[in-house]
Amino acid sequence: MPARGNAAPSRPHDLLATLRELLSYMSHARWLMLAVAVLVTLAGLANLLGTYMIKPVVNAVGEGDQAAFARGVAVAAVIYVVGVASAAGYTQLMVRAAQRVVFDVRRDLFAHIERLPLSFFDRARHGDVMSYFTNDVDTVSEALNNSFANLVQAAVQIVGTLVLLLVLDWRLTLVTIACDAAIALYVRFSGGRSSRFFSRQQAELAGLDGYVEEMIAGQKVVKVFNHEDANVARFSELNERLRAAGTTAQSYAATMVPVTVCVGYVNYAIVCVLGALLAVRGLTDVGSLASYLVFVRQAAAPLNQFTQQGNFLLTALAGAERIFSVMRLAPEVDEGEVRLVHADDVEAARAAAGAAGWAWEICGEHVPLQGDVQFYHVDFGYEEGQTVLADLSLYAKPGQKIAFVGSTGAGKTTITNLINRFYEVRSGVITYDGIDVRDIEKASLRRSLGIVLQDTHLFAGTIADNIRFGKLDATDEQVRAAARLACADGFISRLPRGYDTPVVADGANLSQGQRQLLAIARAAVADPPVLILDEATSSIDTRTEALIQRGMDALMAGRTVFVIAHRLSTVRNADAIMVLEHGRIVERGTHEELLAARGEYWQLWTGAKELD
């Protein structure tokens, strides 16, 4: 994570487009932003004019003009009161405006990411997606919090100062402009070198972070192998490299301040001497010089401010660009028009749905759902040029149980990913009761397909909340019924708070087997006509496994089921077993037929081949 303020800014590629998009977000708080701009300008002008008032006051004093003196002080006081009031106003309004904008950005970004196809999540690491919300949104938020107002104010002050300096004395102003130009040149020159040093530091930091992450994940293995000292040695090496690279980068970055300060002094000294010479010759008055000198000291501040805030703003725009580029990614396509409805939800469907509980809604007509799934010559690959499934055809009649077996990477999970359109087929057709799945409204398609995945993924909340995830409006009785069906009711009732027991951090307080049972209950409460079961691979003791099997069996009754098997014991009673190899079905048939064939399946069954 680049440190704010001293890291070389990563610059946005298309500054204007990003700025336009950010501005459209800022227009959500249009009136606030406008008020801020007006108040910031007022505050900046007040600061300048107040300092300018030193001139008439000093000159009045010099001339002994009491009335002019009193007037000057009074005017300065009024200007300053306006300045403070504006500053109080814009800082408060800016905080509100910034948080409004950032809230909207986070909300829209999240909503958009949720709608992206799964292929996005396959490619993007979680850390990267998190970083859009943390690092990138944070830089935008910080920039809005501080940089926007500061930048406007600094611009007002720089322009105003130059104008007033010119009014006070144009000769001295040339000196100041020359010094400012020198600073600007130095900033440009050192920026490039600085960013090289920083990218080396970031690379070393990434290397160390990676090592720490991997080793801490395996810390228990480190202990078991007495490998502590060796690890410390390797760590020290990486740590030292980071220290050296960091020292160089930071030393270099920190030269910016003294150089600017020094040029400021030189400017001050030259103006002082030159001004004195002019004053002695009577070419300028002492009041102007006094005012001028205060201005010169003040002028360095907005200039520094401007370069610094400008860099922050560029970093923020780079962050905003990353955010907007995610928001521009195309969401999942869904042009299906056929809907599937559950009898509980739609009155008209109740009669049509019958026992299955689900019905098709086509042009206002309701037809009961059968649960017939067919694949016609399906080709698929996750990436261009890669083939995971080739010319795959199969059918599942309503109520049938189809099992897939095969080694890792054979394409078992991929098949089920296509049925619910997590991914789109490359060629071929998948039909559901004879309807192309692409013509079915995606949400209703997925709602009608129950899925129990390998990774159970529970959410923070109670046990009941987690079961209810399958059907948000399920009554307590329905939740209990689903749990009973899944054989989960037993362990849940034994928990100290039963169904109200909180689930923490992805179910860390539950065993793997218990999580599995909850996942089955979650699918059961949705009452789907078609089920996809991806068995857990991790070891569960045989007693719990038997319980899970009972739950699964109860859930499967009367539904069309696809099982991705990791244990052959569960596929024995399937209506058809498909043995997959490299994306093709190499054998298909019942358990007995396949054993008799003495092929791949027979080898797996006898343990001659590894099943995973």
């Binding site: 000093v58 300053y80 403070v84 003294p258 000294a269 001497v273 004053a279 205060v294 948000l472």
Partner: protein, 579 residues
Amino acid sequence: MDGVRLIARFLGPYRRDFLLAVLCVAAETSLELFIPILMAQVVDQGIMAADLHVVLANGALMLLCAAAALALGLAYARFSARAAMGLGANLRAAEYAHLQTFSFANIDDFEGSSLVTRLTTDVTVVQNALVTGTRPLVRGPSALVAGIVYAFVMSPELAVVFCVVVPLLAVAMFSVVARVAPRYRVLQRAMDQLNDALQEDLAAIRVIKAYVREGHVAERFAAVNEHLADTATRTFRTAVLNVPILQGAMYATSVAILLFGGQMILAGTLTVGAFTGFMSYVLQIVNSLMMISNVFLMLARAVTSVERVSEVLAEEPTLVSPPGALTDVPDGSVVFDHVCFKYAQDAEKDVLSDVCLDISAGSTVGVLGGTGSGKTTLVQLVARLYDVTAGAVRVGGHDVRAYDLAALRDAVAVVLQKNVLFSGTVRENLAWGDADATDEQMLEACRLARADEFLERIGGLDGVLGQGGAGVSGGQRQRLCIARALLKHPRVLILDDSTSAVDMATDAAIRENLARLAGVTKIVIAQRVASVMDADKIVVLDDGRVHACGTHEELLATDPIYQEIYESQVGSGISGEVS
């Protein structure tokens, strides 16, 4: 304050750099404050008396000050960078080294991700606070003190204005900082909540999409998002009060000095030059207070990180080698003597209760039992990965607590259930078992663990594995982990469900190879009856107690749990006994 002490301690040899950096800033600041005095002389003695010599001499002095300030500034840049980076490196090194002394119980205390952040992000935050904070932290107070002193030197009467304004301002700013600092912690928590929600949804994206719950999770996200925005608004609204307060103070002082100073000039008790010089001190002093308050706000955020780092450093390792520890494990016998165990002192229930087992050197023992029956816990006590709550575990006739930890763990090899390989070559991974092992020894271990049959396909000993052993299948990874453990030439070898992903035939072959290792005690946890059937003794654990203990035949005849497990597996063909 503890944070300051911690930082002072870990600056170590870089303390010198830090002090020099502080000195540089202090010197630079006083030079800067000297300039208005020179300027006052230019105006009063130069312009008023039309003495060009004074003007030029003072001008030259000013340039000298500028040059000196540049030199000091550059020196500061170097010293502060060295100090900050040195501190960061020292903190990381200390944390990592301390982490190596952690026992399993200590590691359980911090969940993995939090330890990583404490070693990386938190240290970076502390380091950056030192880089950016040192300058204003020194400059603020020294500019404040010097400014007030110089102002008094120039005109004691006029300087009274500061005596009124500065304390008022200080109180106002302090009260803002005092209000905001604790809010940052609340803000941090709100951010953590947002991140947690995000992480959970990312991990579960397939479930969310499968159940069409995008809208539902968006609503939940909206709640944490709103909470964060509200908290941030409340925090920053207070923090930005600093701006008008400061400007108000600066402007009030300016007006007061214009008013009183002007009258003093009119009365002839103040020179115009002194007055002009005075005006620049207003800016100086008020700015220095601003700096101090900003530094405090920044430090308030860094303090959280310092606390998180020091929590790691303060964690007492729960297991240490005793003084005068035994370094030689005479044989591989293992005895559990009325062992009770629970993970936390305040836990209600024991994980193991009153376990008594006698395992003779060189024998093979199988352990079966349901999830949560305490199998993994039982074997981890042998390598003293945790300490018993009551009773004793003896290896080679001595209490495990009497051994040097490294010596004990060299003699007791545990293949953990959650085992990992590391990124690097196969050879580098195997060297964890024995750093001096020859290629022949490594290949022999691979042969015993049946890792030889796929070794060539992944590039032999030079084959490269990704993080967590990416590039090999689950079963292959388990076999490499067994080979790694065998290279330790242990007296006791513990396999915690280490062949669950290995096919039946290979599992049997590995068992056969291991059985030939003479003098090595083997303790095998398994789900499959077939994996432990041939053991000299099989222990059936149930709910933390030894339910039954005996040979396969004995248990099959007498123990209902064993019979049930056996029936369920043989009945469904899991045992691999079909044809």
